[in-house]
Symmetry: C2
Subunit: 354 residues, 2 copies
Amino acid sequence: MYPRDPFFKNKPYLTTRSLQPDNQETPIHFLENGETPTGLTYRRNHFPFPTLSTKSYYLTITGSVKTPITIQYNQITTMPSRTVTAVVECSGNKRAHFRPKVFGEQWKDGAISQGTWKGVPLFHLLQIAGVQDSVHEVVFEGNDSGIKKGQHVPFVRSLPLKKAMEHDVIVAWEHNHKQISPKHGFPFRLIVPGWYGMASVKWLKTIRVVDHPFSGPFQTDDYVYYPHKNNNEEAVPVTVSHVNSIIQQPLDRQILQLGQHEIKGLAWTGEGVVISVEVSVDDGETWKTATLHGQPRQFQWIKWSYSIVFEKNREYSIKVRAYDSNGHLQPDTAFWNQKGYGYNAVSQIKIKVE
Amino acid sequence: MYPRDPFFKNKPYLTTRSLQPDNQETPIHFLENGETPTGLTYRRNHFPFPTLSTKSYYLTITGSVKTPITIQYNQITTMPSRTVTAVVECSGNKRAHFRPKVFGEQWKDGAISQGTWKGVPLFHLLQIAGVQDSVHEVVFEGNDSGIKKGQHVPFVRSLPLKKAMEHDVIVAWEHNHKQISPKHGFPFRLIVPGWYGMASVKWLKTIRVVDHPFSGPFQTDDYVYYPHKNNNEEAVPVTVSHVNSIIQQPLDRQILQLGQHEIKGLAWTGEGVVISVEVSVDDGETWKTATLHGQPRQFQWIKWSYSIVFEKNREYSIKVRAYDSNGHLQPDTAFWNQKGYGYNAVSQIKIKVE
C-alpha cells in the first residue's frame, strides 16, 4: 500500500507568480543544505527571455578603460576561473509579508535559491582592459529588454568600483556544474555574492566602466529603499542581503499531534556568516538556541533545527531569528519601504496541537 | 531577441503546499476554459499514495443489497458509460483568506481544477446489486489510509442515497481521456459533480450500502462547518460547492500602465449555472456586468472578462462577484467556520496605475 515506486516520491514544484514576465518561486520549504536544483531555482524577470547562441557571442568591456576589449565565448571560458556557492535572493523576497501591503510582485518566501557558479573574476577582466584613474562605477548591461514606463530599455545595473574588484564577483558561465541555462542568464551572468539578486545581471552583454554615478530605471527608480509612504526622501540603494531565515517545518497553521516535533529551516546573511539561530515557542517571551547543521559558510544558507515536545493541546506561536557575525539580527518588525525590498522580520508561524 | 523557441514558452507549475501528504495547487491564474491538464490538476491527499495495479483490481459492492457483487477492472470498463466535465474544488480552497485565520492547509485560490471524467453511473451499479428498502446512505472507501488522531484509518465518505442515485454521479476510470493517473485515483474514482472534492473518493475500493447514518472522521469530524469558534454547535456537513470566482488578471498588487486593460477570470457554482458576473473598480460602490465567454454549463467554470481604460495614476480596488441560477451570489464576507471550508466571499485585488 505504501510508496515503492519512484513515481510516488512526491516532488516540489516552482510556484508561479506570473508568466509575463516569467516569475516563479523556489519551493524553499522543501529544500536542504546545498545547491538548489536548477529546475527549482527561482526565476525573476523584468522582460521576455532573450534567445542567444554561443556561436556569435561575445562580451564587450568598454568605457573608461585603456584598451576596450571584446572576448568570444570560447575565449572567456578558458580564462582562470573561480567557483562560488552562494545564495541569490531577490530583494523583493517576502514582499507579501509587509504591512501595510505594498505593490509589486507578491513574493512569499521563495524568491531565493542557492547555486554554484563558476566564472572568471571580474577584476581579472577589468585588469586586462585597464581601468583608468577617474573611474567611479562599472555598468553591466543584459541582453534582456522591454518597455518600462513607455520607454524601450534594457536591464542595466552598476556596481561601485570597489565592490566590482572583490574576488568573489565573477562573470559566470557555469551554474550547478553545467552551462548556465537560458532561463538563468546563458551564456554569461554576473554573480555578486552577498548582494540582492538584481546585482547579478543575467545574459550579460556589455561591461562599461564609467567616471560618473550611473542612473537608470533599475538603479535609481527601482531597487531603492524609499522609507516614506508619500515622498521619496531619505532614499537608499538596495545592496547587501539582510540577515534572514525561513521556517520550513512545521508549515504555518499546521495541525500537529501531541509529542515530539522538529522545527527546522534555513538562515542566511549577505555579509559575514550566520552565527546563531534562536527559536521561541511562546511568541517571543523566551528564546532557545537552535542546532546549526554544518559549518557556517560565507554566502551560503545554513540549515538549523530545534527539537521540542508539545505536551499540551493548544495553539503555539513560533518565532525564529538569525544573528550574523557582523552583529545584525532579524528585527521584530521589518523596515517598511514603498517598494517592499529587504523584508527580514523575525520569521513566525502559528500551529495547533491536538 | 524575443521568444521564437518553444523553450521560451513560459509554463505554469503546481504550487507545492506540502509533500507529506502531497498537497499541490493548480496554477488557476493561468488557465482558460476547458480541461485543466492532468499535470496541473490540484492534488489534495490525506495519506501517502496507495500503489495499485489493474491486474488484480476489483470493486466490491456490499452491505444492504440483494446481491453483493465484485467486479473486475476489465468488466467495469465495458459497462455503459457517461462522461462528465466538471469542476472539482477542495472544500478548503481559499482557506488562507479567512479572517480570523484558521488552522489547516493554507490553500490560496488553486485547490480547484476542471476535468473530464468517464465512468459508469453509480445508480447502474447499485441497480445491479439491488438496493434494499431500508437503505439510508452509500459509503465509499478508498485505498488510501494512514494515521489520524492516533488511529490507522482509511479515507471513507458517504452520500445520501438520493444523491448517490443522480445520473451524473459516476465511478470513473478515465480522466481527461486517459486512464486515471495514480495520483488522481487510479483505477477508480467516484465523481460527485457539484459537491466539494472530499465527496469524490479516489482509489475507490468498496461501495457499501448502509441502513444508518455513516459516521467516520472524514464525515462527522472533518468536512463539517462549525460556525462557532469555541463550540461545535450548529454543525452542518460540507456538501455542495458555493458560487465562487477568481480574478486571474491583473494579479493582486500589480502595477499597471495607464490605458486599456482586461480584467478576467473564472466563475463557477455547484448547483445550477453561473448566470452573471459583476465587476467593480471602485471598491464595490458601483458594479458593471462582465462578458461571459461561452455558454454556461452545469458543473463547469466559465471564463469572464471586463475591459476598462484606467485614466488616472492611482490605486484601484477591484471586486468581482458571481451569481448563479439558484439565486446565490458571492457574499461580501465569507461564512467563517472553525475548519475553514467553503470560502466564497467577493473576489478582490488592489492594483496601482502609474
